[in-house]
Amino acid sequence: MWTHKHLLGTADIDAARAERFFARAEHYLAFLREGERKSEELRGKVVVHLFFEASTRTRASFEMAAKRLGAEVVNLNPKGSSVSKGESLLDTLKNIEAMRADAIVVRHSASGVPHFLASRSSIPILNAGDGLHEHPTQALLDAFTIRRKRGQIHGLTVAICGDILQSRVARSNALLLGALGAKVRLVAPRTMMPPAAEALGPTVTVHHDLDEGLRDADVVMMLRIQNERFGGAMMGSTREFARTFGLDPGRMGIARPDCLIMHPGPVNWGVELSTRIESLGDRVVILDQVESGVAVRMAALSLLLTSGRAVGDAAVAS
């Protein structure tokens, strides 16, 4: 859901809305690359980072984005605070509101938490990842990266490979890339694929063989294998996963010659991605994703915190 106030998911972002958003992100990317990198756009605003689940990269990316725009960031670490002492989510929200914060960036291990907060919040909620559900800024930055590298998204074939069952990145991407006209292939062993996975996006097909998923693909997005979550029940070993579903330059021969290789990070080198993948040079766009991430989050913060008045993009977030 993407209402005028919150960024909760990618389900209602259509092509027109995404284009306006990308134009804005493009503006911030140029600003990051060339400008003095410090804007006053959100001066005086305070963004609260409410991360119930550990995060290094996403949190840093959001923080950079806020600071480049001149906003202050307050990091709340619910571990060891009143939240872990049983304070309810609603109480936490109401306290942050009472302190006159301007927006909340939230990450939580339970699906639906940002939606719950948004239904009761007077300030914008940005979803930085909820459970197995959505991670909308990741999908926006992935789409933005693909669009910059390939000119457009419509008509491309994107293979998303790895633990689809437990991936919010896969869910957000399947919705957004599908809405933007890409064919989305979800690729995983059957243990890592949810039932009825075709329902995850408008253009999704399901594959249980990496070569089948990679054939003539324009983009391959590898997901992090979170072995610590499995308790041994989802695969035989990481070695076996690397052999059957891991990506190395040899397997890329079946994809299109200019196929991009993406990963939301952090990479388990040697598991889902071989270190030899670096030999493919600038087709590996993992760090471009990281760079785009800051620009995309600047665009999201700016939209939600300035009611869309800047850059004539009022309609983008409406």
Binding site: L90, A110, P195
Partner: protein
Amino acid sequence: MSAIVLRGVHAFDPSSGVDEIIDVVVEQGKITRAGRDAGRELAATPSEKVRIILGLSEQGNQRWLFPGFVDLHAHLREPGNEAKEDIKSGLAAAAAGGYVDVCVMPNTRPVNDSTIITEWMVHKGKAANSARLHPICAITTGQNGEALTEMALLKEAGAIAASDDGKCVTRSDVMRRALEYGKTFDLPIIQHAEDHALTQGAEMHEGAISARLGLRGWPRIAEDIIVARDVLLAEYTDSRYHVAHLSTLGAARIVREAKSRGIKVTCEVTPHHLTMTHELLIGYDTACKVNPPLREAEDLEALLLALADGTIDAIATDHAPHTASDKEGPIADAAMGMIGLELCLPMLLGLVSSGKLPLARVITALSSAPAKIVGLAAPRIREGAAADLTLVDRAEEWIVTPSQLRSKSHNTPLLNQTVRGRVKATLRDGIFIHDELEGRRP
């Protein structure tokens, strides 16, 4: 009051073959007369000792009289969770829903696995002077799935059946012994069929919606596996077996097949599994988090069919009250269950008016069938029977608001919605345990 005259009500009792507009006279706790104009004489001589109830409401709606309802499955939360519900409020809610008998599940705090708690519940139930309370004791001590409870003594103390509801008796050896032991003392064994290994952290039905919402799935197979195994155990031990809140098309098929082979299996279904599906979880409404979860349209259709053909014997509420704070927050943290005692009838009448179920099946499944499963006398509309009766205005519409509910809790997706069909009065042994006729409010 020495007599109650129900004048020109539409009496409907499939077990007694009654389906007509008649008078029913209640004296000394019993139905003394039932028939066309059977109450004319008494009604014609006004007296303070005779209460006359007309067959037509003030709005001109025909009032229906059903045999009192029997619920096989309610959580009244006392002892231990009185903020959600207690025996008094729970029985008041039951009476308001048309129930005269309520079987209460043992997952209280502490668990009802001892004669002391069973006796105490019976005592509290009697003191409430409302619907009759029948404790269901635990199958295993602490509902831990290991050691059997004192089923013989518990039955003596008032237990009507045994169940570890909320938890499944997962171990095959324990379930086998439970069936054998229960059979020894003629105590029905009620299973909460859920292979917990398949439902770790489950938040809703496993399917296309759970995949999209990123919620952990509770697959149908977790229920089917247990029902299939238990049916084999019931066959092997030649004992009675009852499935609580059956929710899947597969389990319905297994029970149908088992019945056709003569295995002594019975089962119940909840009103919400007959009327709601997993799409309701879109939007993360915690009121829709129940166990077993709301399933798919094809399950709902299969359950309706199974109820219609007699595979499913009874409709049970699984009334599971929770406070607002228990239901606040993300789905993962929300308590499981919804209230049902006061909403069951309107939910089912909706199915009758849309032609999905015949009224006779609904009333049988609410009254005589559940009574039979736990060995209670089935409420009947006939002369000489105890006056356990439910008077219903099938056309009255009302909005489900907290002030309309006798339950302490209001956790239902129907909150603030309009429903059709209202229990106007409930008689237990000829006593009004619920009465909102002529503007009365209990």
